[in-house]
């Protein structure tokens, strides 16, 4: 896949980087990335990856824009309230970088549609906002053998890691069982700052680029924690891939997608939550 002269000009400030070059830029152009969630994390991931010249971006979100989104979902605009989030991001990207192909999926990711959507992309970004979607996405990525760049945020904290990368652990290896619904807080009821999702979404974008370019030191097998209140970061060492993992282990129980809302006892959206205790 060749670069046009316009692309060489546009990306010159990153082509010049020792770890990228023309060869790396071509790899970015040849790549396709699925972004699951067009909210607080999905916005910075979309703009960063579109700016960097990923050839094809898929964006999946069933939801429409509400005024309560606009403090952190910064690619949407007041005039788009009530309209589709994925279309809003598609428009943003068309203005920023018309060379990027954008495929919108305005559906709720579920066990019926996940595999056929995911299979079309090289790798997947988890920018979702609920437990059920996180398990669904993990299992689908394991079944389709895709790396999952996972970010999450709540209040003034964020977490980021890369699952299912080069024989590293998957989400289920770390969290075999979902948390009790009454302990789960979402951004709707717990709140979150846009600066937090901005940090985590940008960190996810960097890891996406490194995975595509096959750089060393991708953040897999480790979890990065950001506490905005103290501006502190910690990297913790996670367990290895579990031989007995239900989905990525040697003899997996889960060989096709299950009902994740039932498995988690929670809806696959952040609109409806548990008892909001923790």
């Amino acid at each position: 896949m060749e670069l046009t002269n316009r692309e060489i000009a546009r990306y010159s400030r990153q082509i010049i980087l020792p770890g990228i070059g023309v060869k790396g830029q071509k790899r970015l152009k040849a790549s396709s990335v699925l972004i699951v969630g067009a909210g607080g994390l999905g916005c910075p991931v979309s703009s960063n990856l579109a700016g960097a010249g990923i050839g094809t971006l898929g964006i999946i979100d069933y939801d429409n824009i509400e005024i309560t989104n606009l403090h952190r979902q910064l690619l949407h605009s007041e005039s788009s309230i009530g309209k589709s989030k994925v279309e809003s991001i598609k428009n943003f990207i068309a203005n920023l970088n018309s060379d990027v192909k954008v495929q919108t999926h305005q559906v709720l990711l579920n066990s019926k549609n996940a595999l056929e959507i995911i299979t079309k992309y090289d790798l997947v970004v988890d920018a979702s906002d609920n437990v059920a979607t996180r398990y669904l996405l993990n299992d689908a990525c394991v079944l389709e053998n895709k790396t999952l760049i996972s970010g999450s945020a709540l209040q003034m904290e964020g977490q980021m890691t890369v699952y299912n990368y080069k024989n590293g652990p998957c989400y289920r290896c770390i969290f075999p069982k979902p948390p009790p619904p009454e302990t789960v807080q979402n951004c709707g009821d717990g709140g979150v700052l846009g600066a937090i999702t901005g940090v985590i979404g940008s960190l996810q974008s960097m890891e996406v680029i490194k995975v595509i370019l096959d750089h060393d030191d991708v953040l897999a097998g480790k979890l990065l924690l950001y506490d905005g209140a103290s501006c502190s970061f910690r990297t913790i060492k996670l367990r290895n891939k579990r031989q007995d993992c239900d989905v990525c282990g040697v003899t997996p129980n889960i060989t096709k997608l299950i009902d994740y809302e039932q498995f988690c006892g929670m809806a696959a959206s952040d609109k409806d939550s548990g008892l909001n205790i923790l």
Binding site: P180, I236, L278
Partner: protein, 97 residues
């Protein structure tokens, strides 16, 4: 005395009086496994509903336990024997975005 540093994040601190970091001294006549320490936390530190932290004899799903920034699963989990100056962390995983 066995001195340890304890920290909570990702919301787990809510169950412990909203204090993110604290130091503790444990009687050092006996050995302390993480199993013993969870029991101690249950009896001495928990200020909110028990079942939001403990399930059976371990922590509830969705809380990562770390010793010196390493997943306890790599260290023997409940059987890990606490050492002087260990940093023990309880991290609730986040799901929002």
């Amino acid at each position: 005395m066995l001195k340890i540093n304890l920290d909570f994040s990702g919301g787990a601190e809510v169950l412990f009086n909203n204090i993110k970091k604290r130091q503790l001294s444990l009687e050092s006549e006996k050995k302390w496994t993480l199993r013993d320490f969870l029991q101690y936390m249950k009896e001495n530190l928990l200020t909110e509903r028990l079942e939001l932290f403990i399930q059976g004899d371990s922590v509830r799903p969705g809380i990562l336990v770390l010793v010196n920034d390493i997943d306890w699963e790599l260290l023997g989990e409940l059987d890990y024997e606490i050492k002087q100056n260990d940093n023990i962390s309880f991290i609730s995983t986040l799901h929002g975005g």
